[in-house]
């Protein structure tokens, strides 16, 4: 067996890190992304433009980012956790102040050469900041009430900003990610029970403050037949397309529902529907299975890690990924209301892809540096 303390004695060299990098995992991601390329090729009626080629290019950039991020020492990420979080928070505020309105919602910040979505950056940095915070606390300390104020603030501030944009999907994702890290850090059960009760009590208040389109989505979800040509159209059409695909699907590029433009947003949020129509139950299950392998791998990375920071980062990345997959696929199958959450690695989209690959880079960094023992005290960061 490998000497587990092999790396604790000296700093790892780049070549050692490259060997430790799990290339099979990257291949797995490529496999998933390739299913996306194929569907984007099909959406464009058998053309690489406008989507498939650009998506592939973004994936390539994403791979470069992932490898670079993975090479960085985990302790440096820990040191950068708060500054990065602060940076993302400032960007979110900047969007509120100066951001321009795209697709009816204020989400994008124009940096001149590229439009960035600060909420995407926040998803990653929130994980880092929370992991950094709980790394410094013992199990008993973590559950002390006064020690909860800071993490609740760390989650609450960006959630409030994102809700103001308004971007309900991201707000839910951020809250869920925060809850998962608090849960993994070992907070007592009773806090979660209390929070659950609080959420139930808050529903009427939140409902009254929702935007009309958000209310419509929820109402329509609860009763899709309520407005089959308005807001219910998406769900209904998605179910028809998916259901008519059957076990083996209608064949690649043969999906009548998708190809005939019955399906909205089929290259972004509803791409899973298209896959289900053209490649059937089999194709859909293959993709879900691939996702499941990714999740199990990342969970294993968390369990193998010898420092709390790495564990929490890994579980945070893993669960965020899971939330994306689950919310998106449930939505297109009519199990959840329509919220704008893309299918990771498959949906067409730039920032989401890049921030996801950044997160996988962190996961890989945890994997590479899994044998590091990082002390709890402030001396932990140089």
């Amino acid at each position: 067996m490998l000497d587990l303390r092999r790396f604790t004695g000296h700093e790892m060299r780049l070549s050692e890190k490259l060997v430790e990098f799990n290339w099979g995992f990257l291949l797995l991601l490529l496999l998933i992304a390739s299913m996306g390329f194929a569907m984007l090729y099909s959406v464009a009626e058998g053309n690489f433009s406008p989507w498939a080629l650009r998506q592939a290019a973004r994936f390539a950039v994403g791979v470069a980012i992932m490898i670079s991020v993975a090479m960085v020492d985990l302790r440096l990420w820990m040191r950068l956790a708060y500054p990065l979080y602060g940076f993302a928070l400032v960007m979110l505020i900047a969007v509120e102040v100066t951001g321009f309105v795209g697709m009816g919602a204020q989400r994008w910040l124009n940096l001149g050469f590229v439009s960035v979505q600060p909420s995407e950056i926040m998803k990653v940095t929130l994980i880092l900041a929370l992991a950094r915070y709980f790394h410094g606390l013992t199990l008993d300390e973590a559950s002390r009430l006064r020690n909860l104020l800071i993490p609740l603030g760390l989650v609450g501030a960006p959630v409030m900003l994102v809700v103001m944009q308004p971007d309900l999907g991201t707000a839910i994702l951020l809250t869920a990610t925060g809850a998962v890290i608090l849960f993994s850090a070992g907070l007592r059960w009773r806090y979660f029970i209390m929070a659950g009760a609080g959420v139930l009590a808050a529903i009427p208040v939140v409902w009254s403050r929702l935007h009309d389109y958000q209310r419509n989505r929820v109402l329509t979800f609860l009763d899709p037949e309520r407005d089959p040509l308005g807001a219910g159209y998406h769900i209904l059409q998605s179910k028809i397309a998916l259901g008519s695909g059957g076990i083996f699907g209608k064949g690649f590029m043969e999906g009548t529902q998708s190809q005939l433009n019955f399906l909205p947003e089929k290259h972004t949020d509803f791409i899973f529907t298209m896959l289900g129509e053209e490649l059937g139950l089999v194709g859909g299950l293959v993709l879900l299975a691939l996702y499941f392998v990714v999740l199990m791998f990342s969970l294993n990375v968390a369990l193998q890690c010898r420092n709390q920071f790495g564990r929490l980062v890994a579980i945070g990345v893993s669960m965020t990924f899971f939330f994306y997959v689950f919310i998106n696929t449930s939505m297109v199958m009519g199990l959840l209301p329509v919220v704008g959450v893309p299918l990771p690695l498959v949906s067409y989209g730039g920032t989401a892809m890049l921030s996801l690959m950044f997160a996988f880079g962190l996961l890989m960094s945890v994997h590479i540096h899994r044998n590091l023992e990082i002390s709890r005290g402030p001396s932990a960061f140089w």
Binding site: T138, P228, I247, T256, Q308, M333
Partner: protein, 629 residues
């Protein structure tokens, strides 16, 4: 795995809870798979039926393009019904045979046929492709009656752009035309509306500049279609938002008058309000018919446009660059006064001016005798300005020219603006790599040499002289989508009152004093007097031999060799409101060809007085009644 003691508590808890999360994930995935099984296996027959037999389809509806109107609300560009025949290729067994049958009703030439077959190859088989447009009512009725025979042909009524004034406004409005591959590639993001059959976008002029505003937001209709894609009924319809109306500053009556007056020449003319920069008319002749561009220009017609020596596709008013000739003398005059030269000082004109071993000639062979600046402008004496230019130098002249709007663009609403050229020694060194010669300063004194200006710039220059030195900028749009665009408060150029007074007076002399070069083209009605300046820009070089044997008269030269005729003016002289420029290419003489035309147009402008405050035409705020002297 070994975990050090103080961390083991946390690790154990973590492991336990991670396992719980993994379990939750597993349950979620099982639920997803179950849902897929339910939809795709248990319910698949039901959904397949829904998909195959009774499909609800969402179709994009092209928004109605916004109208373009003149300053009084008269329609300059609108939409009219367009009867057309579409072809859905999957509904006919033989496209060629269908086209052959259709060609008995509507003529389809080989060029069009090629285009149709290309479009069919390029779009999905259920997408309608335009076969013939702009059918007469008879033709359309016949297509409808014969529909059973014409498998795959779909009679359809669309909207198409209509330009009631045709070529009179071509260089202002531009035109719309079918979306090209290039347009698709250049479009930001995914704009499915561009792919609608028959959809058109602005390609030139106002149509291009305000394409986004004019286009509107596409609507959609939910229709029930059968398995062949044929519409059974419409379930609901969102017509979308029609495009915004664009209100121009043009007065169509004056535009039309100016067009009629210049028709037949290769010419251009711009009329401005000197306080707001509102463009009252903007003419470039000859022009093309935007309606034909919209429906696809015939090959032969288009070739004729391209090959015409009078360049109908060129927007001469903003892209034609000409030596300003004597119309530039006001700039030299003002630069001289600013340099401290007394405008009352007299210069002797013997008919020529010597510099080194080179002689520069005055247009008047015997010379003008002694004259001051007022008379030099009035008689357009060349020697006076040769001498003045040499004394103050090229940099002083160039500086004044730039302050009055020459040598730069204004961000005008019609694309294609040219900046012209105001030469300086620095420019010459950078571009030509040579030093500046004094002779070039001398020749710049009469607006020749490297100097180049567009008719738009000359109108702006004149307007800035007329308003007492305020840097107004030309604008063509009054309002977009119902909100008036603000008039920019013009900056003061910083020119002395005396300079403005002398130059305006000189222009008054040109038009209203006996002996002025445009006295014949004055407006005699009291209160309407115009003040102008003629210009005759030489296109060819006159050799010493020709000078000795007698300069050839313009009538004896072929058209291309004749001088350009220029005239700029403002009016009324007592209380200026409008300024304009006219350039007639190879018109031989400013006073003979350009001044009479300008006079007629200005007279019409003054009679209509289109920018006076009146109902529906509120006076824009912040305007100056400034006039020096």
């Amino acid at each position: 795995m070994q975990i050090s003691g103080r961390d083991s508590n946390r690790y154990q808890t973590f492991t336990r809870r991670a396992a719980l999360l993994a379990g939750a994930q597993g349950i979620a995935f099982v639920a997803l798979a179950g849902r897929m099984y339910y939809l795709q296996v248990l319910k698949t027959d039901q959904y397949r039926m829904l998909a195959e037999e009774n499909r609800v389809s969402m179709r994009l509806l092209a928004p109605l393009r916004g109208n373009i109107v003149d300053r009084f609300g008269r329609t300059l560009a609108s939409n009219r019904q367009n009867y057309r025949a579409m072809l859905i290729s999957e509904q006919t067994p033989d496209v060629e045979a269908t086209l052959a049958r259709l060609s008995r009703i509507v003529e389809i030439d080989s060029f069009t046929k090629k285009r149709i077959l290309r479009d069919i190859a390029r779009s999905p088989r259920f997408m309608p492709v335009t076969v013939a447009e702009d059918l007469s009512w008879d033709q359309f009725a016949q297509v409808n009656i014969n529909e059973p025979d014409l498998a795959g042909i779909l009679p359809d009524v669309g909207e198409t752009r209509d330009y009631p004034y045709g070529e009179e406004l071509a260089h202002v409005l531009g035109y719309v035309a079918a979306v090209s591959e290039k347009d698709l590639a250049a479009a930001e993001g995914d704009q499915p509306v561009l792919k609608l059959p028959g959809f058109r976008i602005g390609k030139e002029g106002i149509e291009k500049t305000y394409d986004k505003e004019l286009r509107g937001v596409p609507g959609s209709s939910h229709v029930e279609v059968n398995a062949y894609g044929r519409v059974i009924r419409e379930l609901s319809k969102d017509p979308g938002t029609p495009g915004s109306e664009v209100v121009l500053t043009i007065d169509m009556d004056i535009q039309r008058f100016a067009w009629e007056r210049l028709k037949g020449e290769s010419a251009s003319s711009v009329v401005l309000d000197i306080h707001t920069g509102d463009v009252i008319s903007f003419v470039s002749t000859p022009a093309y018919d935007p309606n034909q561009f919209n429906m696809g220009y015939g090959t032969a017609d288009y070739k004729a446009l391209l090959e015409s020596p009078y360049l109908p596709l060129m927007n001469k008013a903003l892209a034609g660059m000409y030596p300003p000739g004597s119309t530039f003398k006001m700039i030299v005059g003002m630069a001289a006064i600013e340099a401290g030269i007394d405008p009352n000082a007299r210069v002797f004109c013997p008919g020529h001016y010597s510099l080194g071993n080179h002689d520069f000639h005055c247009w008047k062979k015997g010379g003008h005798g002694t004259l001051n600046m007022h008379d030099a402008l009035k008689h357009s004496c060349d020697v006076f300005f040769y001498d003045t230019a040499k004394r103050i130098g090229i940099n002083a002249i160039a500086d004044m020219a730039k302050r009055f709007g020459l040598g730069s663009t204004y961000g005008f609403e019609v694309p294609g603006e040219k900046s012209g050229l105001v030469p300086t020694p620095g420019w010459k060194r950078a571009v030509k790599g040579e030093g500046w010669h004094q002779g070039e300063t001398v020749i710049a004194g009469i607006g020749q040499g490297y100097l180049l200006a567009t008719p738009l710039q000359l109108a702006v220059m004149t307007a800035r002289i007329a308003n007492g030195g305020y840097a107004i900028e030309p604008r063509l749009t009054r309002a977009v989508g119902g909100s008036l665009l603000p008039v920019k408060e013009p900056e003061f150029i910083g020119v002395s009152e005396e300079a403005i007074r002398v130059v305006q007076g000189g222009m008054n002399g040109v038009s209203n004093e006996i002996g002025g070069t445009a006295y014949r083209s004055r407006i005699a009605e009291p209160g309407m007097e115009l003040a102008g300046k003629t210009g005759t820009a030489q296109v060819r070089r006159i050799s010493r031999a020709e000078r000795l044997s007698g300069v050839l008269k313009n009538e004896d030269l072929e058209w291309r060799q004749r001088d350009h005729a220029l005239f700029v003016c403002f009016a009324p002289y007592d209380a200026p409101r409008y300024a304009m420029s006219v350039i007639i290419e190879h018109g031989s003489s400013g006073s003979g060809a350009a001044a009479p035309v300008a006079r007629d147009i200005m007279h019409e402008v003054l009679k209509r007085n289109p920018t006076r405050p009146q109902a529906g035409n509120p006076s824009p705020g912040g305007q100056k009644s400034a006039r020096a002297g």
